[in-house]
């Protein structure tokens, strides 16, 4: 798995353990319904991409070659950036959608409450008479 130019065994252990610990932490949040599976998948790329590059240096070198980049780690950071960007992009869209829905909900419940208050007021006045 590791040729003369790849990372040493200690590095592989550190990266592997980090990936396992990190994904276990994220998965724990998924199991408690604080994140969903999509979040798990996107956040896991932070662990999986370095694992792929460390454990398969041939793949990393090949990707660097076809993209015309001198150092494989630049490709790795590029991939991580794309993953984070896509995740961020989707999150911004989701936040804005929730913001719009929240605004509408606040408006509608407030108008409804006003109607109920006015009817109650009218009924109370009617009973008073």
């Amino acid at each position: 798995m590791v040729d003369g130019h790849g990372p040493n065994v200690e590095t592989l252990w550190v990266i592997g353990l980090f990936a396992l610990a990190y994904m276990a932490g994220v998965f724990r949040k998924v199991s408690r319904h604080r994140l969903d599976l999509y979040d798990f998948m996107m956040l896991s790329t932070v662990a999986l991409v370095p694992v792929a590059f460390a454990y398969f240096p041939g793949l990393a070198a090949w990707m660097a070659k076809i993209t015309g980049v001198e150092f494989p780690f630049v490709v790795m950071f590029g991939l991580l950036f794309v993953a984070v960007f896509i995740f961020n992009h989707n999150l911004i869209g989701r936040v804005h959608k929730l913001e719009r829905e929240n605004r509408t909900l606040i408006q509608e419940t407030s108008l409804l409450r006003m109607d109920i208050d006015n009817r109650r007021k009218k009924n109370d006045a009617g009973e008073g008479e």
Partner: protein, 243 residues
């Protein structure tokens, strides 16, 4: 005004307990037939209690900003089938006796939106120099983008809207800096916009939310939204409305 349009005056408020009562008294004393709706935008003071004693009042459970508050008023107006609504500030900057001028312009021209302008005549409170410069820039860009639309006071919060404009804005209204952006939207959707000179007063309580570096951000966002509107919006059709 008994034969005039059914009119709703919308007063968005945030912590205006000291001024809203007086403004509502002035509306009542102005002598034209209208209903008033105070939209309390999640105030922490006694705005709601003061307003409710004199007017219909809707209390938003959370602060939505001026755009969300005014849009709530449009929704109320559309559902209760008002012919026109007039937006004035709850802080007393817009003297209610000027509403009559907006109504007369609406009756004479049949415009969808009538803006009360501080800048058409030189005899009223005209805000700071920086703000006036900002208004000039926004108005110039509007003129270029929207086929010669002439507006001198695009940031004025004193405006009349007919049913068509109310329906458009009840459906979708800008959350931030709504006055100039909503005008751009209206122009894109083919609504007719007119202006009329009105008197305004300096604010007596509270402070503006657009200050310092915020005014630069304001300009950038407003201009950006106007360009976006020009590029993406199509004329408004009745079936666009939910009501």
């Amino acid at each position: 005004m008994k034969d005039g349009p059914r009119t709703l005056v919308i007063l968005p408020c945030y912590n205006e307990q000291h001024s809203i009562g007086g403004v509502l008294d002035e509306v009542a004393a102005a002598g034209f037939e209208c209903d008033t709706l105070v939209v309390d935008d999640g105030s922490q003071d006694k705005t709601y209690e003061v307003a409710r004693a004199k007017s219909f009042c809707v209390r938003l459970s959370s602060n939505l900003g001026i755009g969300g508050a005014v849009q709530t008023g449009f929704k109320y107006g559309v559902r209760r089938d008002y012919n026109v609504c007039i937006q004035i500030d709850g802080d007393g900057q817009h003297p209610p006796d000027q509403i009559q001028i907006l109504l007369e312009k609406y009756t004479a021209t049949g415009a969808n939106i009538v803006i009360g302008s501080r800048y058409l005549l030189n005899d009223t409170f005209r805000s700071t120099r920086l703000r006036r410069a900002g208004s000039v820039v926004i108005a110039a860009v509007m003129k270029v983008l929207f086929g010669g639309l002439r507006v001198t006071d695009p940031t004025s919060g004193m405006r009349l809207m007919d049913q068509k404009a109310m329906r458009l804005f009840a459906l979708n209204y800008p959350a931030d800096f709504p006055e100039p952006i909503s005008l751009a939207w209206a122009a894109c959707r083919g609504l007719r916009i007119k202006e009329v000179p009105v008197q305004m007063r300096a604010r007596t309580h509270g402070r503006s939310s657009i200050l310092g570096i915020g005014s630069v951000a304001y300009m950038i966002r407003v201009l950006g939204y106007m360009i976006l509107a020009r590029l993406t919006m199509r004329p408004f059709r009745q079936e666009d409305s939910l009501w």
